[in-house]
């Protein structure tokens, strides 16, 4: 996946796979409460500069909450 900026990468990730946007975000665009998305280990809610440039080794992690037991 290629994107010029961190913010663009987070958008492109949701468009890269069929239906992924609907799995990560509800119909109002809010991220579902039990899903977190990290960019190089930083929650996407805490990214200070979404316009910063990407590098070849950047990593996006999608993590669901684990509960129960």
């Amino acid at each position: 996946m290629e994107a010029a900026s961190v913010g663009a990468a987070l958008v492109a990730a949701r468009d890269a796979f069929p239906d992924l946007r609907r799995l990560l975000n509800d119909e109002e665009g809010r991220r579902r409460p039990h899903v977190n998305v990290f960019y190089n280990g930083v929650s996407e809610d805490e990214i200070e500069d979404p316009d910063s440039a990407t590098t070849d080794r950047d990593e996006i992690l999608i993590i669901q909450a684990i509960s129960g037991g």
Binding site: D19, R22, D26, E27, H34, V35
Partner: protein, 348 residues
């Protein structure tokens, strides 16, 4: 002719196949392990499943090869700014190339071919819409009976709605659906709610309807304009599932449940009830079914096939599925222990 069952559970979809004797079953799955499957439909090699997850929300999946591989489908969505949320897809119905989806919260979506989903605006803007209340399963539009001239839908806990103009307007058809118990009747009257659990229609007579309701079992011979109670022989008026015999609209089957407080099969044993006279009398069918059972049978976990003799299928929240190849006279258990069964559908 082979029979294929789509068994939805809390932990995925299972597909059970048998030859025309419907005695020995091969079971594949789980497909979509970990997802709840509240409805599914199958025609030929095409299988559709409505999935939901507490983490990922609701979504539709389709297989074109009998369940060997799957791809996500476009999922209905409320328009931007709508106060409603898509909680779950509860029902799917095909009509001449148009796919209908009934969802919670109380909406009907339709798409022609591979076109976009369109929400039924007349239902959304129904004059009574703002007082609709959810049942225990949410505001679920669980039954769609489409027809060119007349379409019925059923919503918990709104009741039956009828459209005679292709979905451009809807009229609620709940007159006469009243609890026999005065306190229960007063509760429903106060909230103006009507909790239809399942609705069936005679395919040859659009006026003849039957419903399993929260407050009883009812019949209408006039397209829902009036309803009469039909519970003679039933151990309980409460229940969820109801199916009609494919060739005899006077023959129906249901599964009585103890009460609104106790969602467990009536009398502590799994027993289906059959009427052969359009509800005037009901008789128990339990040969081969467990004598002790303390599970529930949900609204879409009772199914009937179109073979001769007709096959019946019932799934329990205890994770068992039973099949009858002789119209309910005798039963055998499918060779698997599933999770909570949320639907059993017969693929055509």
């Amino acid at each position: 002719m082979d029979t294929r069952l789509l068994i939805g559970t809390n932990t995925g979809l299972f597909i059970a196949e048998s030859d025309e004797r419907r005695k020995d079953w091969r079971i594949s799955g789980p497909h979509h392990a970990g997802w709840q499957v509240y409805t599914a439909s199958g025609h030929g090699d095409e299988v559709m499943a409505a999935l939901s997850s507490g983490v990922w929300g609701p979504t539709l999946q389709r297989s074109q090869d009998g369940g060997r591989s799957w791809e996500p489908m476009d999922t209905p969505a409320f328009p931007e700014g709508s106060p409603r949320k898509l909680r779950q897809v509860w029902s799917l119905a095909n009509q001449d190339g148009t796919l209908h989806a009934g969802v919670a919260e109380a909406a009907l979506f339709s798409r022609k071919g591979s076109g976009a989903w369109e929400m039924n605006e007349a239902l959304e803007s129904h004059p009574t819409r703002e007082r609709w209340l959810p049942g225990a399963g949410g505001l679920c539009l669980h039954t769609i009976l489409p027809d060119r001239d007349r379409t019925y839908i059923a919503i918990s806990s709104v009741g039956v709605a009828r459209s005679d103009d292709g979905g451009r307007s809807w009229e609620l058809k709940n007159d006469g659906v009243v609890a026999a118990d005065a306190d229960l009747a007063a509760q429903f009257a106060e909230s103006q709610a009507c909790c239809t659990h399942k609705l069936v229609r005679d395919p040859a007579n659009a006026d003849l309807l039957f419903q399993q309701n929260h407050v009883g079992v009812f019949r209408s011979a006039d397209g829902g304009n009036s309803w009469e109670r039909i519970e003679s022989g039933l151990p309980s008026f409460f229940g969820f599932g109801l199916v009609m015999h494919p060739k005899d609209s006077r023959t129906l089957y249901n599964c009585p449940i103890v009460s609104q407080e106790v969602h467990m099969v009536a009398e502590g044993r799994l027993s289906l009830y059959r009427t052969r006279d359009a509800g005037d009398h009901w008789e128990s069918l339990d040969r081969g079914l467990p004598e002790q059972c303390f599970s529930n049978v949900l609204r879409d976990s009772l199914a009937i096939d179109a073979q001769d003799p007709a096959g019946l299928y019932v799934g329990t929240t205890g994770g068992e599925v039973f099949a009858s190849s002789d119209e309910g006279e005798s039963w055998s258990r499918l060779p698997a222990s599933f999770a909570r069964v949320t639907c059993v559908k017969v693929a055509s």
